[in-house]
Amino acid sequence: MRLKWLFVVLCVVGVSGCVTVSPWQRGNLAKSEMSWSPDALESTLDGHIYFAKEASSGGGAAAGGGCGCN
């Protein structure tokens, strides 16, 4: 429950603390190194390896399947 409230507070603080950025001011935000996963294949393999070697997985997007777990 406390985590849910923390998340809501973070969202409100994040939204209220920002200024309007016009589309023509978003050049830096559009650079590839600013994306959430700049390298799709690297992200896929990272997820697969950490899923196989650690007890936790997922987060950020819907989870996939597969094993190759040893």
Binding site: V21, L45, I49, S56, G65
Partner: protein
């Protein structure tokens, strides 16, 4: 369209807020990628491997392929495929041996195995929203997984805020390697054994026998919000929930092989048949104009009803360098160096325990695990540190990629100074590859 104009259009379409003007947000061009990865784990620890010597642990070669192509100005298709070949020993049980104080781990060698997977995703792009649907399949001789997903996002608040969400469902089928070799020399899978062979397997490898014909399925949902903070900063937060049910034990965990009086009482690996897990993920991307660099920070909190709680922190620094010399300018040559660090820490599952074979009465493990039990090091209390460096070199419409990662897991890294977990892995990962934009 000239190459520079195409790049300009592509860049503009990627800018939140430019989408409505351009009437399309899909990728402006196609991209194909290939990666080769060599993954090698450190040898088993000689002093704690009960075979008496160090063994080769997993070595994996991975080939990955990716293609993204727009079909129309509002619809794009993304396909990924990979092929892995792997071999090496993995930990199958841990115990404190009779007459000893230290934890020992037994490793089993694996025959050469292969895994194939493929995923395909179609995405429709509206003026301020997008929606995608995907399918995923993973195939091994002993495992088949099928997954489908739906997701979407919408931009609001002058396209400063992006709300996203998705759902996925998957079904997995198990058919473990029985270890039984046929007259022709092939290793048989559990589902292929005769009733006599199955009876023998139940006595020799009960965990593999128990997995015969088993399946599991999972359902996962996520919701997220992204927010532009200023011209150089964007943040994101998301929550996800995953529910799994079915056969969640590991069929390759063996029972303790020992003559100690209570060794026979230790089960192989019995995990609950359901697992509910939630995550909270937070991320920030900050561009540093004066340095022509970007900083990535990501955090994930994971909690589940097996009492596993984990914290994952990822930090990466993207340094660009574009030499202002004629050859480099004329050929669009850019360099990008990306050092990064990842820290992971988890608590142990409530049914994780190392059996102590010095015990002479009752059970070799505690009463809390009478129903469920596992000595899988992946369910222990430990931490892991990973250091990674990537280099990308752009040349015209090509990008050459290379990366190296060193990963090491240890109880002490997770602030657990009491336990000894010799089965935890440490590995090197080397990757190289090529991207082609057309």
């Amino acid at each position: 369209m000239s190459k520079k104009l195409t790049l300009l259009a592509k860049s503009a379409l990627a800018i939140p807020g430019m989408i409505a003007t351009a009437q399309a947000a899909g990728p402006a061009g196609s991209e194909a990628s290939y990666r080769y990865t060599y993954y090698t784990e450190d040898d088993s620890p000689e002093a704690r491997d009960d075979s008496g010597g160090a063994q080769d642990r997993y070595k994996i070669q991975v080939h990955q392929f990716h293609i993204l192509t727009p079909v129309t100005d509002k619809f794009a298709v993304n396909v990924e495929a990979s092929y892995e070949s792997m071999s090496g020993a993995s930990p199958v049980y841990s115990y404190i041996a009779d007459g000893q104080e230290d934890v020992y781990t037994h490793f089993n060698g694996a025959s050469r195995e292969r895994r194939y997977d493929v995923s395909a995703n179609g995405r429709y792009y509206g003026s301020t929203s997008d929606a995608g649907a995907g399918v995923y399949a993973s195939m091994e001789r002993d495992y088949f997984a099928l997954n489908g997903s739906l997701d979407g996002s919408i931009q609001i608040n002058d396209q400063m805020t992006t709300l996203s969400g998705g759902v996925s469902a998957g079904h997995d089928w198990l058919n473990p390697n029985s270890g039984v070799v046929s007259d022709s020399g092939d290793v048989l899978m559990v589902n292929d054994l005769s009733s006599e062979e199955l009876e023998q397997l139940a006595a020799d490898a009960p965990a593999r026998h128990a997995a015969k014909g088993k399946t599991k399925w999972q359902l996962s949902v996520f919701e997220g919000v992204g927010q532009i903070i200023d011209m150089n900063t964007v943040v994101q937060g998301s929550v996800s929930f995953t529910y799994k049910t079915g056969y969640l034990s590991d069929p390759y965990r063996d029972c303790v092989g020992s003559d100690a009086p209570l060794a026979d009482n230790v089960p192989c690996d019995i995990r609950p048949s359901t697992r509910a897990a939630g995550t909270l993920s937070l991320g920030v991307r900050r561009y540093l104009p004066t340095l022509n660099a970007a900083v990535h920070g990501d955090y994930r909190l994971f909690v589940d009803n097996w009492d596993v709680m984990s914290h994952t922190l990822d930090l990466d620094y993207y340094q660009n360098w574009a030499p202002n010399w004629n050859f480099f300018v004329n050929n669009d040559v850019n360099f990008q160096l990306v050092p990064g660090v990842r820290y992971y820490q988890q608590s142990q599952a409530y049914f994780y325990e190392i059996p102590d074979l010095n015990t002479t009465t009752g059970s070799a493990y505690s009463a809390d695990t009478t129903r469920y039990y596992s000595s899988d090091p992946r369910l222990s209390h430990y931490g892991a540190i990973s250091l990674k460096t990537r280099l990308k070199i752009d040349f015209r419409q090509f990008s050459l990629n290379g990366s190296v990662e060193r990963y090491a897991a240890n109880p002490a890294y997770g602030f657990n100074f009491d336990d000894d977990t010799p089965g935890l892995p440490a590995y090197w990962r080397f990757t190289t590859g090529l991207d082609f934009r057309f």
